[in-house]
Amino acid sequence: MSWIHRTAAEQAAALASGEVTSVELTQAHLDQIAATDGELHAFLHVDAEGALAQARASDERRKAGNPLHELDGVPIAIKDVLTTEGLPTTAGSRILEGWIPPYDGTVTAKIKAAGLPILGKTNMDEFAMGSSTENSAYGPTRNPWDHDRIPGGSGGGSAAAVGAFQAPLAIGSDTGGSIRQPGAMTGTVGVKPTYGSVSRYGVIALANSLDQLGPCTRTVLDSALLHELIGGHDPRDSTSVPNAVTGLADAARAGAARDLNGLRVGIVKELQGDAWNADVVERFDESVALLKEMGADVVEVSLPSFVHAMAAYYLILPAECSSNLAKFDAMRYGRRVTPEGSPSAEEVMKVSRDAGFGDEVKRRIIIGTYALSSGYYDAFYGQAQKIRTLIIEDFKKAFEQVDVLVSPTAPSTAWPIGEKADDPLAMYLQDLATIPANLAGVPGISIPSGLSSADGLPTGIQFLAPVLEDARLYRVGAALESALFEQWGGQITPAAYAPKGAN
């Protein structure tokens, strides 16, 4: 098996034992990107030179016996929503085409400080608005399982890169499911940490009160390792929680022992029914059966306000984003489009924003402007913030009864590119199960639950835990993963990218 098909933990161990160098690992992933990304389009920018330079520095540190971190030398990809000094950062938008930030986001800085070579920036729906990565101004990313299908979104690039062995680790951002849903679509693992536990400094904000960076990997343990690396308090993010969430990798390792005795698992009543495809539910039920086999107590719990979560989300998010995106006005940075004649600053702003933003961005800005406008605030934005309170209360009550909640991650498997492109509502429905966690700030994980009996594409299962209890996700996720891997004989891999022969 080639190096790229190994997990990040295995790659780290091989670096530590001297079996491989970071330059070799990094080059292997760059080769995979070069061979596959023409078709896949998971990356918006590849920094081969920079990554190799960082790899060489990492190898020097190893040689000197001074690695910076357990993952020092393991390459990583970063969603284009996070600023990287000296590397283009566009958030998938035309309006930021060519923008090179003069500063690193906190998570970028942590990655650099730990010595992980940065392979490049991954594709995404424009400003993270979407569930398919089709809204990227630079063209869609394809699903490694079927190139005619979407990889999920908004972080389709990070999920596809990890799923296609272009990178063992990737950073995603999750505002309503943008890490977890692409994980489900591509047969990979994705985690949305507790709100405030990973710094948002340097994250091009979609909706500040919902956004959270998190890991995209192929295994639960790899996510835990990356999560511990990127988490922790940051004084530059005022919403950052005071203490780091810890014990994640330990929880993942413990979970792999498959003992869930005493764990109370709640199936969310409101995340069942006709909206959920039978093939997805089939795999979900099998996973729940495995949880029971491992000793978990599984009950059904009701979180009645979930029915309003989507509506609340699609008011809060547009409201916050309409304000966040105002800064893109072509005055200080970004693409300026100057109409004929001697236009005013106001006209240049309007024309530049019209040319620089895609349809979904415009739709959400206009809805958000409406929801905040005088006369409608209470009925829309104010009401949505109250629904948020109700959802938080629902979670609190549910977590008095159970330790974790469980649901399918998404209602369906990956759909053909273009199918929902002009039907925003159908697209929004994809996030039904993932949105409540963002509204309440609780952590969530999606892991593969198998392949659909209908179309052979991956399905995902999601666990949710109380605020700051991210470790629970790793324990139950690793247990289920271990049980499933045993059934499957290892992780599920798209045929076109499967390992060919031994290393």
Partner: protein
């Protein structure tokens, strides 16, 4: 457009003015409101900027603790309630000098609210009610290029420096100020003046209206005499001196009356004040469509000052300026006129320090308001920056009291101080300025003078003591002014009696 202006007395016959004053105070914190850039405006353009105050994608704000503290202290000094819990809010509007195209401000949850400030005008006390004081950030500074005037209208393009963007501001808003009648312009001026003194005493701002660290917007409306219904208001922006505040109110009252008396209706609009002729001109019309879409700033958590903190800060409040003046005037024994001159010269603090350093109040007043004021004026600097410290003034006065210097020599010592020649003692030494205190040389000089002017000596012997002046003059000349004239006089009389 020429305005029909109505004579001020006629305005008052027919209308009651209502005023609202919005004052922005720029805090003198080390850093900006939401980032660690120096809160220093001026200097080379775009040197005090960072991702946050430039509004770069991904950057986030972090609240300056000192600015919150200053806001609470201002609130307390204005007798306000301090919010137990309040949030920042985004005020959304597009303008190129505002990096994020929203201003991080406060909306319906100000840090301080429901206060008052008493001001005195011609012996009458007016209580100005404060609606709120809230925290926000300043904008960048645009300069307009091209066109004829360098003004925004007709400019070809504009250049923006963001050094000022993000400097902490406290906006202090009054409730409608009613029932001031003919004194409206003076009340407005007195309020802004009192507010300036108060904030200055707190030490939280330079409050220099001429430099923009304190800016005033004047809202004015007229209601028909006796009516309790407020009229449509105009908002005159950036009225940047105390005198201008008074003039702007006066002008707007006359202008509104002109419109109303001719059957027109006042436009709700922004107006600009012109220092040159004391008039205002139309700016932007404030339409109802203007919609700032305020909502709580999601990147900042609520501010919830503990009551303990608020009380700690209350304990740090200085004596209110008005009370302090009453106390100092009594302590110093100044007349009303003397006190007013000292206040107008911004010399109260300096006199107080000089007195504390050992000088008599009248002596301190005399030096600061005459000699030092004159030199400060000549140099075009503030009194406090004139180059002399209260301790030095007190030292000079001590030397006068001890007979080492007279006023004339003291002025020469000041010359030396302004020239930076060292301490008063060093200057006296270097310039050889001390009075001759030994009688020996004086007696010799007296003998010489009497010998040179025997007729005068005769007159003195004959009982004409006034004639001694000529001998004193001669002695002073001989000692190059370094004699104590009174002592010389005494010695002459003793010598000839």
């Amino acid at each position: 457009m020429t305005e029909t202006l109505i004579d001020f007395d006629e305005v008052l016959e027919k209308f009651d003015p209502a005023m609202g004053l919005e004052v922005h105070v720029e805090l003198n914190t080390n850093t900006k409101m939401f980032c660690g850039c120096p809160a220093v405006f001026g200097g080379a353009p775009n040197t005090n900027v960072c991702p946050t105050c430039l509004g770069l994608p991904g950057a986030m704000p972090a609240v300056n603790a000192k600015a919150v503290e200053s806001a609470i202290r201002i609130g307390l000094a204005l007798n306000c309630e301090i919010a137990e819990w309040c949030r920042f809010a985004r005020k959304n509007y597009f303008y190129p000098d505002m990096p994020k195209n929203f201003q991080t401000s406060q909306y319906d949850e100000p840090i301080a609210f429901e206060g008052y400030l008493d001001v005195e005008v011609e012996g009458e006390t007016f209580r100005i009610e404060i609606e709120r004081a809230h925290m926000e950030e300043d904008t960048g500074k645009a300069t307009h290029v091209g066109g004829s005037t360098g003004r925004i209208q007709g400019a070809d393009y504009s250049l923006i420096d963001y050094n000022r963007a993000g400097i902490p501001l406290i906006e202090i808003v009054t409730k409608p100020i009613l029932n001031t009648g003919a004194k409206a312009p003076l009340v407005a001026k007195a309020y802004v003046s009192a507010l300036r003194d108060l904030v200055k005493a707190l030490g939280v701002s330079d409050v220099r209206m001429d430099q923009g660290s304190m800016r005033c917007d004047v809202n004015l409306s007229l209601a028909p005499k006796g009516s309790d219904k407020l009229g449509t208001r105009s908002e005159t922006k950036n009225v940047n001196s105390l005198r201008s505040v008074e003039r702007a109110v006066r002008y707007e009252m006359s202008r509104h009356a002109g419109i109303l008396l001719s059957g027109g209706s006042v436009l709700q609009e922004t107006r600009h004040f012109h220092e040159s002729d004391g008039t205002t001109s139309s700016g932007r019309e404030k339409s109802d469509a203007e919609d700032y879409r305020y909502f709580p700033e999601p990147d900042l958590v609520p501010v919830a000052p503990s009551r303990e903190w608020v009380e700690e800060l209350r304990a740090t409040l200085p004596e209110p300026p008005a009370e302090r003046r009453v106390r100092l005037q009594a302590d110093w024994g100044f007349t009303d006129l003397e006190m007013r001159d000292a206040i107008n010269a911004d010399a109260i603090d300096l006199i107080e320090e000089t007195v504390a350093a050992g000088a008599a109040p009248q002596a301190a007043r005399k030096w600061w308001l005459s000699e030092i004021s004159r030199r400060a004026n000549e140099a075009g600097v503030d009194l406090v920056d004139a180059g002399v410290s209260p301790a030095q003034v007190a030292e000079v006065q001590k030397l006068i009291d001890a007979g080492t210097l007279n006023d004339k020599l003291a002025r020469q010592v000041f010359d030396g101080l302004f020239a930076g020649e060292g301490t008063p003692a060093e200057i006296i030494e270097k310039r050889g300025l001390a009075l001759v205190s030994d009688d020996g040389p004086l007696l010799a000089a007296i003998e010489d003078a009497l010998a040179a002017q025997p007729d005068i000596a005769e007159k003195i012997r004959g009982g004409n003591v006034k004639a001694a002046g000529a001998i004193v003059g001669a002695v002073m000349k001989a000692t190059r002014g370094q004699a104590d004239a009174a002592r010389v006089q005494q010695l002459i009389v003793e010598r000839l009696s």
